[in-house]
Amino acid sequence: MIVFEKPKALTDAPLHYCPGCTHGIIHRLVAEAMDSLDITGQTIGVASVGCSVFTYNYFNCDMVQAAHGRAPAVATGLKRADPSKIIFTYQGDGDLASIGTAETVHSAARGENITIIFVNNAIYGMTGGQMAPTSLPGQVTQTSPYGRDVNTVGYPVRICEMLSTLDGPAYIERVAVNNVKNVRQAKKAIEKAFRYQTEGKGFSLIEVISTCPTNWGKTPQAALEWAEQNMIPYYPLGVYKDKYSEEAAK
């Protein structure tokens, strides 16, 4: 009896992520959603710039690699070109919440029928640990060596809260992958986001609170704890918008 196997929507390429990084878990959850909805053959993924730049090697579907921050625009073009395809982007916090804020906000406002997987680990990982738009107040990074000073660089951006003020999005939820319970909830949310797209319900964004042991300077275990104790209080988990459950409830 098979009790555990790699999702079919992942290729055999070994992941390049650092030990303890939660990108691997999130990749798996995305792939499991594709498997369970049986959509891999119709899915086109959009890789972004950051640690997840190589996702095009990992997902077993057609992929395009977008310029920094532009994945939602590329996804828009793909979806408009062929609405029967399932389009998702996989973006980090620098890509989505800093350089690509306009593309994020406007694809959401248009209610573009795409799914965005937003991995928030509060730091620029690929370039070696610079301050991100989601870095916490006081967080030490390479470019905030004395801790993020909100008086000079301002406050972190809460994407789910911000986007949920728009009428466009169908479904916005923030999840985490720091423990088994949260991973299970993340899996449900990601699958639901893809399902909404297959049902033509419109824009969905799942923010996943993630870790960066390497650039946080922590062991994998300590990083999970740091996420629990520091990130989740600042970025509360939960459903921020679900147009269809709201409508169903009315």
């Binding site: 090697n57 057609d62 992929m63 310029a67 625009a73 590329v74 828009t76 408009r80 406007h106």
Partner: protein, 355 residues
Amino acid sequence: MAEKILMKGNEALAEAAIMAGCRHYFGYPITPQTEVAAYMAKRMPKIGGTFLQAESEIAAINMVIGAAAAGKRAMTSSSSPGISLKSEGISYMAGCDLPGLIVNVQRGGPGLGGIQPSQSDYFQATRGGGHGDYHLLVLAPSSVQEMADLVFKGFDLSEKYRIPCMLLADGTMGQMMEPVSLPERSAETVEKPWALTGTEGKRKPNIINSLALAPHELEAWNQVRFERYAQIKENEQMSESYWMEDAEICVVAFGIAARVSQNAIDTAREMGIKAGMIRPITLWPFPEKALRAASAQCKAFVSVELNMGQMIEDVRLSIKCRRPVSLCCRTGGMIPTPDEVVAAIVKANEGGKQA
């Protein structure tokens, strides 16, 4: 031959794009090309196409990338400042070998510049414009009819060679009306096995990507691309000659500058000066062959441009500086008058000093 109707250049190019099978237009308003977007906004919904006003020029070009990656004919249009914003995306298109049409109805610059006609994006267009080693196919219409014809040509060549194509027009070409005929024709279709159409579980994933961290790999990609560029240079140079049979003075001008120069050449001929013109239609590849042939016959060249002198470099390179090349130019949205061009021709004929 379809009936000739009066159309604005911007509208003629938009209708031609639709006739060429383009069903995906992404743009952002900017003078003097807004008619293109307005036309597409009217027409696309009626023919099952996409018109989308993007949040920015940057988003618009990336939407083009998405639609082109899906294998569709896609386009965007803008004017100079907007093209600068698109340049990042254009570089990615080149790096991903994606076809597509980018229209630049140029206005004066730099910066916000003005809104009157200009050719000051010549360098940007012909040298690539964004970062990295690449070229665009650059087509320069000089009539409303050509605004339409070169759209067909641009899409076809863009797909044939997997190179983004830029239609480099100017405010005059966009805004003027001339008779134009838009004959029914079918688009040349090419197979796109690279397109992102979903694996359907039947093939390996297609990946469209411009990232190669291993330098030898990136070099190899670039070399392959430049082999295609070499083919384009060999096969696709286009220009038109005017009064060149016995010309001693060769004017080189494109777009509106060529229209003005045509008047000037007529006047020069009346004055007894053997002037002629080579009008580049492809700015990249530059019509080097025609220029080189002319250098055997002509004693001097005059480059007429709506900028401070950009194409003149290509003229000199093409003729390997064998003949003096002088510049007749206006900039900032000003257009040289025929009299100014005549004066430049007269001076070149008298062996005036090289500019």
